[in-house]
């Protein structure tokens, strides 16, 4: 186990370093000078040069990369060109929306998908299975922003159970959760559909394994066989998808954030890109990449907890 963890950890660090380099290089290549963008096209060359010097844009690329990286380690993400506040502050404000939203959606998605997938697999070809498969087909096919609008129309406009958008802050947690409910449902629907299908097929594969037959021959009931022997083995492929989904939910909620006017990370990146606020783009993208890599690391560690075959260091 320690060797496995050490290996995963090294790969985590290497991935982070590689990601930072790629992000830095890509943003070097993209057109658009933040200084020129701030001053407008009619700016005087010497004013422009002065601003560039002030923003540190005239230093060699390597120096800027190292400075940026060094700053990241100290939690210093730089100052936003457009908002004129530290990027860390901007991110911190928004992560308190994006992270709970992602966790909320992921929770909903697994809560729906696990039972749905297990029921569909254990009652294969029954009406329950056909229903689950039909609904998940629909869930994968529906664009989630359209589904979000339907939710707003029904629950916010007609029934008035939830607000149509915006975020009141975490001063009143109940109110905050209420504001996040519709977006989380909209985000969770397609994820739950995919996850149900993965759960179902993983469960079906596992249920046809020899050791499930062995368990039945030992005298276990169908239910006991499912819980004690099949579920843990079926979880291995499902975990992979859950990890991927969390990464997507954290960074990919931008459309849903727009539908519900939520000031989340997705919207921050989007606005920063349009405003050529490259320092924000660079840092937020790095943060998101780090989150994705970290989640992958956690999934790897969970694999080892679930599957003893991964823990071995020697044959």
């Amino acid at each position: 186990m320690p060797a496995y963890l050490a290996g995963r950890f090294l790969s985590l660090a290497a991935s982070l370093l590689a990601a930072s380099l790629v992000i830095f290089l890509v943003l070097e290549i993209v057109p658009g000078d933040p200084a020129r963008f701030m001053l407008g096209i009619n700016a005087q060359p010497d004013t422009l040069a002065a601003l560039r010097a002030q923003m540190g844009l005239d230093a060699p690329a390597l120096t800027r990369y190292v400075t940026w990286l060094f700053g990241l380690f100290h939690g210093d993400f730089g100052i936003s060109y457009t908002y004129k506040v530290p990027v860390a502050e901007l991110v911190l404000d928004r992560i308190w929306i994006s992270l709970p939203l992602a966790l909320f959606a992921l929770g909903l998605s697994t809560l729906i998908a696990f039972p749905a997938g297990i029921i569909a697999a254990t009652r294969r070809n029954s009406p329950a299975d056909v229903t689950v498969m039909g609904l998940t087909q629909l869930g994968v096919a529906l664009p989630n922003f359209w589904f979000a609008m339907l939710l707003v129309l029904l629950f916010a406009v007609t029934l008035r159970w939830f607000s149509a958008g915006g975020f009141p802050g975490w001063d009143d947690p109940l109110l905050a959760i209420r504001a996040l409910t519709l977006p989380a449902v909209a985000l969770a629907l397609p994820q739950a559909s995919i996850l149900s299908r993965v759960m179902r097929s993983a469960m079906l594969d596992t249920l046809s394994e020899d050791y499930v037959r062995t368990a039945r021959a030992k005298g276990l009931s169908r239910g006991q066989t499912l819980w004690r022997h099949a579920l843990r083995n079926a979880l291995i492929p499902v975990l992979t998808i859950v990890g991927l989904q969390f990464s997507f939910l954290l960074a990919g909620a931008i459309i849903i954030e727009n539908v519900f006017f939520l000031p989340g990370l997705g919207r921050l990146v989007f606005q920063a890109i349009t405003a050529r606020d490259l320092i924000v783009v660079k840092s937020v993208v790095m943060l998101l990449v780090a989150a994705v890599i970290l989640v992958t690391f956690l999934v790897d560690v969970t694999y080892a907890l679930v599957d003893p075959r991964l823990r071995r260091t020697s044959p």
């Binding site: 050791y211 021959a217 003893p308």
Partner: protein, 537 residues
């Protein structure tokens, strides 16, 4: 009264009859052997006894166990019997255990379920039971996982799960088929001991007549869902009545017509000198040194034109690794391999060399692309001819000829592989190997997955092709009786080395190396088993 009596058991799936009126009985302390080829319904009989038939199956008749008709019990009552009073051991030890649970937990589960024991008490029972199946502490701790054990050890764990509650009846469905002969002999001895110690009845299912003749007190022979013949082992085998039983017995010891051994000065088609093949192993720790496992340790052998060579050994002895190196799929770390006089380079074999060497694998189901028609499958090696590859009618003619050689018809080229049985598929694999008229065909366990009667036919075909086309075989197998039937010379491999080499008859009748003697002694043989029974007082 018998422990288990099966009366007029009939099972059908989707209207297709699988079992047609089976009558069997097992007494306490007695072993009933059921012999049958694939599809004979022997496994279905076992599953029906435990009421674990597939959901679509419909069963009629009676299965009386200790006086109760199991067919009338509900699932709850049946669960108390499964694992408690009837234990079952399956064929595949590699997959019969849950990979994410420890062996202690898995054996203890039976005890908790049926004995109502606490976790701790159940683990104590598991410890005792593992000791009984000869997996003693501390080498075999309860905390081991299945992947940390060999196939034979895993089968012992499966047996421990089945006998933990000292059941009255043990059903063993091909429990040793996936194991090496020496391991098989140990497991059979273990089962025999457990039956004797506990006075259990055992329903022992196998396709191997030699194994059943050695173990069973009474034997039933099944075909296509029916018991064609049953009786006490010795009397039954000495005077088989049914034509099918007789055919089965003669097929199991089938000796194909062979040609005389080729002259010793015939040109070599395969020459291996001091072949070494090593694999890297995972490091022992994060900072550990890289380690290596040498699978083939300086093996030399030669196959001459028209000669059939056998390479025997148990799993892990390096025979498949050597075969991969001969096929130029993996490079050697030392030594050299020449095919028809041309040495293989580090980069592998060129087309001209590959033309001289073809291969037939074990699994007739997995070794074909199911989306290609037979003509494409058989004609695939033509690409080795480059621009000289036949096209149009000539290609069709040659594919038709190859199919005719192996006993199929040219019209079969139009079909897909799923339309053929296992034996026919193996014929197609041989046709594919023959199409370029190679000088050497490697047969890697090529008849191991086949039923005995089909196996006899394929062995006849191979012997006939060898005579007519002068092709040499390197016959790799763990099955000594097959190697004896088809080869001129045999090499015995153990732990990466050739321990004995010689004329096949000499090696089989007067083995020199202790390992060869051990292998031969462990190989099940009907005649030897019957003689041993006759010698008993």
């Amino acid at each position: 009264m018998s422990l288990l009596t099966i009366e007029n058991l009939a099972v059908s799936i989707g209207g297709t009859p699988i079992l047609k009126g089976i009558d069997l009985a097992v007494n306490a302390g007695e072993v009933l052997g059921i012999i049958g080829e694939s599809g004979s319904g022997k496994s279905m009989t076992a599953l029906a006894t435990l009421q674990l038939l597939p959901e679509a199956a419909r069963a009629t008749g009676a299965i009386r166990f200790e006086g109760t008709d199991l067919m009338t019990l509900d699932d709850r009552a049946m669960r108390a019997i499964r694992g408690g009073r009837i234990g079952m051991v399956f064929q595949e030890p590699m997959t019969a255990l849950n990979p994410v649970k420890t062996i202690g937990d898995q054996v203890a589960e039976t005890a908790r379920l049926h004995g109502g024991l606490s976790h701790k008490a159940a683990l104590a029972v598991a410890r005792q039971t593992l000791d009984r199946v000869e997996l003693p502490a501390p080498r075999f701790g309860l905390g081991l996982y299945p992947h940390e054990l060999s196939g034979g050890q895993r089968q012992r764990v499966v047996i421990a799960m089945a006998i933990a509650m000292r059941p009255k009846l043990l059903i063993a469905d091909e429990p040793t088929t996936a194991l090496d002969v020496t391991t098989q002999a140990q497991i059979l001895k273990l089962l025999e001991r457990l039956v004797r110690e506990d006075g259990m009845g055992m329903l022992f299912i196998s396709h191997d007549l030699g194994v059943v003749a050695g173990l069973a007190d009474r034997v039933a022979i099944m075909r296509a869902g029916e018991v064609v013949e049953q009786g006490p082992t010795l009397g039954l085998f000495r005077a088989l009545q049914h034509p099918y039983s007789q055919a089965l017995l003669s097929a199991s010891s089938h000796q194909p017509q062979r040609h005389p051994t080729p002259p010793p000065d015939a040109e070599p088609v395969l020459a291996i000198e001091g072949a070494v093949r090593t694999y890297p192993l995972p490091r022992s720790g994060f900072w550990g040194k890289p380690r290596h496992f040498t699978a083939v340790k300086g093996v030399s052998l030669m196959v001459r034109r028209g000669e059939n060579i056998g390479l025997v050994g148990e799993s892990g002895c390096g025979k498949s690794t050597l075969a991969r190196a001969i096929m130029a799929l993996d490079p050697l770390e030392g030594g050299r391999i020449s095919i028809a006089g041309k040495p293989l380079s580090k980069k592998g074999a060129d087309f001209a060399t590959r033309r001289n060497l073809q291969v037939v694998f074990q699994d007739p189901y997995g070794s074909f692309n199911p989306r290609h028609r037979v003509d494409r499958l058989v004609g695939e090696p033509f690409h080795l001819l480059g621009s000289a590859a036949p096209e149009g009618p000539e290609r069709t003619r040659r594919i038709g000829k190859a199919l005719s050689e192996v006993g199929l018809t040219p019209a079969d080229a139009e079909k897909y592989i799923h339309e053929f049985s296992g034996g026919q598929r193996q014929r197609i694999a041989i046709a594919r190997a023959l199409i370029l008229e190679p000088s050497l065909i490697i047969l890697d366990e090529a008849v191991s997955a086949l039923d005995v009667s089909i196996r006899a036919q394929i062995l006849d075909l191979l012997a006939d092709l060898s005579i007519r086309l002068g092709v040499s075989y390197l016959f790799i197998s763990h099955d000594l009786s097959v190697v004896r039937a088809i080869t001129d010379r045999v090499l015995v491999m153990k732990a990466g080395e050739i321990v004995e080499e010689g004329e096949t008859e000499r090696v089989f009748t007067a083995p020199n190396h202790p390992y060869t003697r051990e292998l031969l002694a462990a190989t099940p043989n009907v005649e030897a088993a019957l003689k041993a029974r006759e010698a008993r007082p």
